[in-house]
């Protein structure tokens, strides 16, 4: 057989964003020989794009904040489908994880008294997001990267994992290829952590990069792990809409946190027209109160622009469909208006939102200190993912852990902005800690050589078909088109059924994908190998979407517009059935303890 180099590790971490790096730091700290595999170069993972901040109830700006309020906000935002134990751990541990970053060299923006500054964000009752201007993700990934490289972990940059290796019901390693050299490589590992991020690349309008091809979800599913809440995809309300080439690029919620407002073409602040009942108590009923909230007035309630993302995205969608949108099919997001309120507003905006200023100036010829932006919803995040144990982050497969966006539970039906970065840290650490423990308690497993050979053969098939095969980029683009149209922000059964048919047809074509050229850094080949993951997870998202016959959080059904009390009791779980097809089942939502119930009541 071909000779694939084999590397032995205690802990293998797949993915080098915030969760992966945090897990790797923890595992290597515990004395484990640790490797990190990443599809890109180190420090380029999607975390780098996070803008607004990381949520942690430190109470630096408003001392009424504490973990109970953060917990209650997270549950309300997730429409109570969250795993409450995860939401509890997250709210309790996030402050320590943020302080730890400072210890490792991060430099957050400061309060007057020299502590870490916190800003307002959608769905958070108090200013809670530790941040650095609007480039918090960069600060986080660079801090973890710069700390991590001195920990002794090995980094395999530009490597893609194509299969998890199993020994019975235990994951014992992974099979990967080196993108640059085109060589296969085997990792023998006592424990494996998936931290591969999301699925956004399967949609046309997205804030996600090429990396987001559902790898972790697909690898885990194929290995026998369960996926949870896959119907819940987050469409971020504010992506760029113009010019076409930048459509989907994120515009941070921080713009609204700093006082930015949404208007339709008639100049109306339409968010005031539709405030959900469960948020009425916490939401300003006039523009003046909303403005005072953004400026730190503790007696004011937050403006409706800072309602949860699912709701704001749908309101924007409604304005556009009703013909009240902006010229290029979005609505207006205006931060320039604060010049009526603040002296030096232009300087203030540039200081608080430097990358937004830059992004619009360079990509859209627009000065956000002078003119409103045009924005519309963009595919941003998936709340669902690999089902894990709340405390250890282990999936249903022994020795296989998951953290960050590829794992499910914390966010329920809708994620609050800012809860993602803190999720990466809290659960990345936990995954690393428990993976290390597992590795210490278990010996190395056995990897089947026949399986390796079969995987390699399958992976090389596109070269055999050559240029006469299907163009992998075309298949990817077609998938993106119809997922956006048929399984997007507003869903209806017939369209989702149509999507299933199209996925089946595309799958037939995907197995005929062909590539030419040599194997070194061949992006066509890389894309061909991504297709199966994207297609299988798109199918699961669609199946779960059809199954949940109600509207809740990120899942909005035109044919079932109301929230249902019955569906409030269930999460949807998908596993690979005995026939090799996805099997969907309802499982009861994790019940609240009395103490957590009380925390939710206090927050109402």
């Amino acid at each position: 057989m071909a000779d694939y180099p084999i590397h032995d590790y205690d802990v293998l971490v797949i993915g080098a964003g915030g969760a992966g790096l945090r897990a790797a730091i923890e595992a290597s700290n515990a004395g484990c020989k640790t490797a990190v595999v990443t599809k890109s170069l180190l420090g380029k993972a999607h975390t780098v794009m996070a803008e607004g901040g990381m949520a942690a109830a430190m109470g630096h700006v408003d001392d009424r904040d504490n973990w109970r309020v953060h917990f209650a906000d997270t549950m309300r935002g997730g429409q109570y489908l969250n795993n409450c134990r995860m939401a509890e751990l997250h709210a309790k541990e996030a402050p320590a994880r943020v302080h730890e970053l400072e210890e490792w060299g991060a430099i957050f923006d400061r309060t007057q008294d020299g502590r870490i500054l916190q800003r307002n964000f959608g769905g958070h009752r108090y200013p809670r997001l530790a941040h650095v201007g609007d480039r918090t993700g960069l600060e986080m990934i660079r801090t973890l990267q710069d700390h991590g490289i001195h920990q002794g972990m090995d980094v395999f940059a530009e490597h893609t994992v194509i299969k998890l290796m199993m020994d019975g019901n235990r994951c014992v390693g992974a099979f990967a290829y080196d993108r640059e050299k085109g060589r296969f490589i085997t990792f023998n590992a006592k424990a494996v952590v998936l931290a591969t991020g999301g699925v956004g690349r399967s949609f046309k309008v997205t804030s996600n990069s090429w990396e987001y091809t559902a790898d972790g979800q697909a690898l885990a599913y194929q290995a026998g792990a369960a996926l949870l809440d896959m119907e819940f995809v987050q469409f971020h309300p504010t992506g760029m809409v113009w010019p076409p080439s930048v459509k989907g690029i994120l515009v941070t919620e921080g713009v609204r946190g700093e006082g930015g407002v949404l208007r339709n073409k008639d100049g109306k602040r339409f968010m005031f027209d539709d405030i959900p009942d469960n948020y009425k108590n916490q939401t300003a009923d006039n523009p003046e109160e909303g403005w005072r909230y953004t400026q730190g007035d503790k007696s004011a309630r937050r403006p409706p622009e800072l309602l949860t993302r699912d709701h704001v995205a749908r309101c924007i969608n409604r304005e556009v469909k009703a013909g009240r949108g902006s010229p290029h099919g979005g609505v207006f997001l205006d931060i320039a208006w604060i010049k009526e309120k603040l002296p030096n507003a232009a300087e203030h905006i540039k200081k608080k939102l430097p990358s937004m200023y830059h992004q619009f100036k360079q990509l859209a010829d627009l000065d956000i200190t002078k003119e409103p932006m045009e924005v519309g919803p963009t595919t941003h995040y998936i709340m669902g993912g690999i089902q894990v144990d709340a405390d250890t982050q282990m999936s249903g497969v022994n020795g296989l852990f998951a953290a960050g966006e590829c794992a499910a539970g914390l966010h329920g039906a809708n994620r609050l902005g800012g809860n993602s970065l803190s999720d990466l840290l809290v659960f990345g650490k936990r995954a690393g800690e428990y993976a290390a423990k597992f590795a210490k308690e278990n010996g190395a497993g056995k990897i089947s050589k026949t399986e390796l050979e079969a995987s390699a053969k399958e992976a090389l098939a596109p070269f055999e078909r050559g240029a006469s095969g299907e163009n992998p980029f075309t298949i990817q683009a077609e998938l993106q088109d119809f997922m956006q149209d048929l399984v997007g922000i507003v869903r209806v059964e017939g369209e989702m059924e149509q999507a299933l048919g199209k996925i089946a047809k595309l799958r037939e074509r995907a197995v005929r994908a062909g590539v030419s050229g040599n194997i070194e850094y061949n992006t066509g080949w890389h894309t061909a190998l991504d297709l199966e993951n994207m297609l299988s997870i798109s199918e699961i998202i669609t199946l779960a979407g059809i199954e949940r016959k109600e509207s809740r959080g990120g899942h909005f059904r035109e044919d079932y517009q109301a929230k249902s009390d019955e569906w409030a009791k269930w999460n949807l779980r998908v596993t690979k059935g005995p026939d090799g097809r996805p099997k969907i089942e309802k499982i009861p939502v994790v019940p609240l303890t009395d103490d957590l119930k009380a925390a939710i009541e206090e927050g109402k």
Partner: protein, 243 residues
Amino acid sequence: MADTATFRIWRGERGTGKFVDYKTEISSGMVVLDAVHRVQATVANDMAVRWNCKAGKCGSCSAEINGKPRLMCMTRLNQLDLTQPVTIEPMQTFPHVKDLVTDVSWNYEVKKKIAKFKPRKPDAADGSWRVQQADVDRPQEFRKCIECFLCQDVCHVLRDHHLHDEFIGPRFLIYTAQMEMNPIDTGDRVPALKEDFGIGYCNITKCCTKVCPEEIKITDNAIIPLKERVVDVFFDPLAKMFK
């Protein structure tokens, strides 16, 4: 704007190769990376190019466009003369891998040699520090760096004189500067700047500052102050007298 434009892209492997002209459709608001992607998706599936965020935040798509080091995702076509072919080639300072991709691993090795951040004891019982915003404005400027390595690419000490073993380059001078200027750091990297990092090689031509997509004032705000610290420690005549 014309409906099509020609992109003259470097194709080949490990130092060998040639420019190949691709004519492709263009539309309003397009950036160079869009054109490269269009070519890749239609007629050159195997073309190697790095990218991630497409918004100037990750620093992956560095290349030389019409001879100038730039991010492909932030270079609008309407800033270029489209009556001529637009040349796109890989960064010249790093070993070539394939097409537009270069081997930038040297940068990652250099960073490991720089002593890591070493905080003073926390100021508060909860393990946190008290720091004024004004005292961190400067290191925050340097931490905006997206590691695109365009400054390394343009620096003549590396590009023309190939002193990769003796000089860490502008990227890592600002990396060192952000720690040296962080009020809670207690490390001392000044001797290393002089002896191991080759700060003396920089003769402040400011080429790095000119190409920085984050508009960091690399030379004025980082390198010159670091040079001054080296001078203070090693070449201060008063201190010498007292030695």
